[in-house]
Symmetry: C2
Subunit: 137 residues, 2 copies
Amino acid sequence: METIEQVLESKNIRVTAMRLLIYKFLAEKQVAATLSDIEKAFEKADRTTLYRTVKTFVEKAIVHQIDDGTGITKYALCEQDCSCEIETDLHLHFHCNNCNETICLTDHKIPKIKVPDGFISEQINLVVKGLCDKCSA
Amino acid sequence: METIEQVLESKNIRVTAMRLLIYKFLAEKQVAATLSDIEKAFEKADRTTLYRTVKTFVEKAIVHQIDDGTGITKYALCEQDCSCEIETDLHLHFHCNNCNETICLTDHKIPKIKVPDGFISEQINLVVKGLCDKCSA
DNA sequence: AAACCCATGCAATAGAAGTGCATTTTTATG
DNA sequence: CATAAAAATGCACTTCTATTGCATGGGTTT
């Protein structure tokens, strides 16, 4: 089991108190978080710091950025074996129209999509919207 | 061949000069347009009017709203036989990472996506990103 | 200890999206 | 045709997300 410090160091991210806290917050959350979620969780910290911390995490590929169609970017920790920095990685997310939460469906892979001649596919963003297990009951 | 007036009337949208112009603009454009694209094309008109016109078009299902992951909502005319108001309709769009344009791939359908037990799928948003035919050359 | 790098904090801004209200235009009705 | 009602347009303002410039401060290196 890797410690958070080791995860950060392995990606050349300096370990700071703030970064450990934000990492833990994302790790404990089962759903993708918005910046404003993170702000609410760390009211003492400055918004810019949170913004830049998350940005660093995204750039260093320990967090991936999710666009679920709400217009608000969400963030979630990458899986251990996540390859979201690789072009061919396939993201699949579920967005609940009721509770407005977004969940990574990591074990549901996306089928190969055909594109017309001359088009080159680099990434695929797939968001399924509907009711999550908690809201469909 | 249906006139624009007939299209609008068939959806219970009042025909106004502004609406005809915006419809024509979208019809001539081969790629999806942002509100700001439309603003640039109609600088004499007020932003609110453009905003509300597009909103009306979306509500009446003659335009569909595209979320291509740039964070900016784009709009494109529905096809004649477009069923985007129906829950099960499958949208597929291509976003070019180079020219930043978004294209509807209307004849490329989306395969059925499985979701875990308890989840109910209502809509699917699929955006393929990469290089379009013009930029890949 | 000094110099430096980088994280953090503060302030300000840009840009998209949305709302309330007044005014004008269009449609409906007598 | 006149007039009332309804809808469209225009203006001003607000909210929210995202982003940047600059100053400060803590930790690391030499």
